[in-house]
């Protein structure tokens, strides 16, 4: 089957990163709106290898969700204008015809998102919706086989009494259980990469802990890679080996998660860290980042963060800093990255 071939061939050489499964290069996404051109993603490059875990951390409007939307082919173009390249197994997902990208989207690269409850079709049983994955992507699968595998998957994502609940409708499921159904659908075809876009943001913290543990277990069993999109520093810290920090449509910092957290090399990352209330700062004022993220129709020139940055100098509004190495494993897009890194 073509899909199997693609899986085997799924490690194309990517400049600078051997064995990358998915390579995004210079991705740019903009939207024409009545208020002007919204520059949502402005030159984002990253790659992910087999079994890797990468977090994309950012606040609203940082471009994190739009970036993965482009990877998953979820942006209608037009109105979105998309540039750059997204390569998976030798295929540029931005240029390949739909019959080729269909073998990748939802199959080799699957996605779950924040709003599991509305992502499910309320008129169909959850078992039917999971089984649909096989009927659509594996046309040879018999109906009985698809149903059996749907029940197995529900069991695998730890939905209690899975065999009975195959016949349940989405409204009979809580938010946490709906997210498990979405995970079951996402892992149905044993994807190489799971993209999880704020998978626990709508959930309570005890349910979040269950879902993050489930994702970690499934990753361990299947070896799939994980791209986790989140605004939550704690979730990033506990779940992914590498992190990309996004601000106003660009990656401003990246590196191994623990190192980035222990010693940020970009003032925005450092500011985010210190805005989080911690026990030892109970009696102090929280450090804040002044102002608010820019409106995406009017992104400041130079470094987009400069109007909010305590280290801002004239060069920051004149020259846009590129993502450059701070150490062998770390990159930062700041003219003063070395000083920030040294504290």
């Amino acid at each position: 089957m073509a899909v199997a071939d693609l899986t085997r061939a799924g490690a194309p050489a990517e400049p600078g990163r051997d064995g990358a499964l998915l390579a995004v290069s210079d991705l740019r996404v903009s939207f024409q709106t009545p208020h002007g051109v919204v520059d949502a993603v402005r030159g984002v490059s990253f790659a992910i290898g087999r079994g890797e875990t990468v977090g994309i951390l950012g606040e609203s409007g940082s471009g994190k969700s739009v970036s993965v939307g482009a990877v998953m082919g979820l942006l209608d173009s037009p109105p979105a204008r998309i540039g750059g390249a997204i390569r998976y197994g030798g295929v540029d997902l931005l240029k390949a015809p739909v019959r080729e990208t269909r073998r990748i989207h939802g199959d080799r690269v699957a996605m779950i998102n924040q709003d599991a409850v509305t992502a499910l079709n309320p008129g169909l049983t959850v078992g039917y919706q999971i089984a649909e994955m096989f009927r659509v992507h594996r046309p040879g699968t018999s109906r009985a086989d698809a149903r059996r595998r749907a029940a197995e998957l529900m069991d695998r994502v730890k939905i209690p009494s899975a065999r009975q609940r195959v016949q349940s409708y989405p409204h009979e499921f809580s938010g946490g259980m709906s997210q498990r159904v979405m995970i079951a659908m996402a892992i149905a075809l044993e994807p190489d990469i799971l993209i999880a876009d704020e998978p626990t943001t709508a959930l309570d913290v005890t349910v979040q802990a269950q879902i993050m543990q489930l994702l970690a277990e499934l990753r361990e069993q299947t070896g799939m890679a994980l791209i986790l999109i989140t605004h939550d520093l704690g979730v990033v810290a506990e779940s992914v080996a590498r992190v990309l920090v996004m601000y106003a449509g660009r990656i401003v910092e990246r590196g191994p998660t623990e190192e980035v957290i222990a010693r940020p090399a970009h003032p925005y990352t450092a500011g985010l860290m210190s805005s989080v209330p911690r026990a030892e700062h109970k009696d102090r004022k929280l450090a804040t980042i002044e102002g608010a993220p820019p409106v995406l129709t009017a992104i400041p020139p130079g470094c987009a963060f400069h109007p909010r940055c305590g280290r801002s100098r004239p060069v920051c509004s004149g020259d846009r800093p590129e993502l450059e190495p701070v150490t062998s494993a770390r990159d930062s897009a700041c003219h003063f990255a070395a000083q920030v890194f040294d504290g």
Partner: protein, 340 residues
């Protein structure tokens, strides 16, 4: 029954009892629906008692459906309580007539979670901030109102020019500032903050938390601070109540709750929060299942269906919220610090 004494240690600014809530109950009767199956009684808030002291911040944490937002609404009588008392300045708010209640709200204001839904889009910022004075004309003389609006706006970090703009021209964090300015217009004693920062990005959240702390000192406010974010509640609260299925399960100073929790639910809740610092990571207690329905909650202890310590006694006998394990009030028969 009055709340068991805890004492807000380490909070010298905290003064005398200001607001006493006793045995507050809010039940909703749900009828049998075509799709939802059986009817019943939703026990949204079920026998909650506490005392708020002057200048204090009482944090209330809990997951969705625990009743924390219903509690806020009942205290303001935006919904009517089923039973109980809420005594402010010698008056039981629940016995007041509509007119008297309106007057009492001068002392008791609220800041809502959603700064997009809680501000009238047709009004200017000045009109929004000034609106409470239409009901309480005596608070600020007419001639001083313009200046007062400007004072309030600048105090919350907005500009005088912003007075003539409309809510849609502001970001989420700025709208929350407008809501805060409005809540201050009547010089209240108590402000109920219902998830005031949970719709905001992390970097904006910190600004609003700092603002709330500053105005608390300046205006001598007491806060009832309701949130699901445990780190935010720890930062701002003197004391903290943990809510589960309509009940307070544990109540203590922030240190007692965060550093020496004795209720298994509090312990699980705290352990579930992802820690940024590897050093802060504790052994995670993963709870089984999800919160049961508040219609027909479990007998005895409501948490027993998910509790790793549950025994037969927990189904038979409801544990009272009383001081246990030589420490603060905890509603568990087996209350003990973690690991003991």
């Amino acid at each position: 029954m009055a709340e068991p004494a805890t004492g807000a240690k380490g909070s010298p600014a905290v003064g005398e009892p200001l607001f006493e809530v006793e045995n507050l109950v809010k039940h909703y009767v749900v009828r049998r629906g075509a799709f939802l199956g059986g009817g019943g009684v939703v026990r949204a808030v079920d026998d909650v008692s506490f005392t708020l002291r002057r200048g204090e911040t009482l944090g209330i944490v809990g997951e969705s459906g625990c009743g924390k937002s219903t509690l806020a609404r009942v205290l303001l009588r935006l919904v009517e309580p089923t039973s109980g008392r809420a005594v402010l300045a010698g008056e039981n708010l629940f016995e007041l007539g509509a007119r008297e209640m309106r007057l009492a709200r001068r002392r008791l204001q609220i800041i809502f979670q959603d700064p997009f839904a809680s501000l009238n889009p047709r009004m200017t910022v000045a009109e929004i901030v000034r609106e409470p004075w239409a009901i309480f004309p005596g608070v600020v003389p007419r001639a001083e109102r313009h200046d007062r609006v400007v004072d309030l706006l600048t105090r919350v970090g907005l500009n005088a020019d912003d007075a003539h703009r409309h809510p849609h021209q502001f970001s989420g964090g700025q709208r929350q500032r407008i809501g805060i300015a409005r809540s201050l217009a009547l010089n209240p004693e108590i402000v109920i903050c219902d998830e005031p920062v949970s719709a905001l990005d992390v970097s904006i959240q910190a600004q609003v938390i700092n603002l709330l702390e500053e105005i608390q000192d300046e205006f001598g406010l007491s806060y009832i601070f309701i949130a699901h974010d445990l780190s935010v509640v720890r930062h701002i609260s003197d004391r903290v109540a943990v809510m589960y299925l309509g009940k307070f399960v544990e109540l203590g100073t922030w240190r007692e709750i965060y550093e020496r929790p004795t209720h298994p639910y509090t312990q699980a809740l705290l352990s579930a929060v992802p820690a940024i610092d590897p050093a802060e990571r504790t052994r995670r207690i993963i709870l089984e299942g999800e919160v049961p329905s508040p219609i027909d909650p479990p007998s005895g202890c409501r948490f027993r269906t998910r509790c790793r310590m549950a025994e037969a006694r927990c189904a038979a006998e409801e544990p009272a919220l009383v001081a246990r394990a030589g420490s603060h009030p905890s509603a568990c028969h087996f209350a003990a610090p973690a690991g003991s």
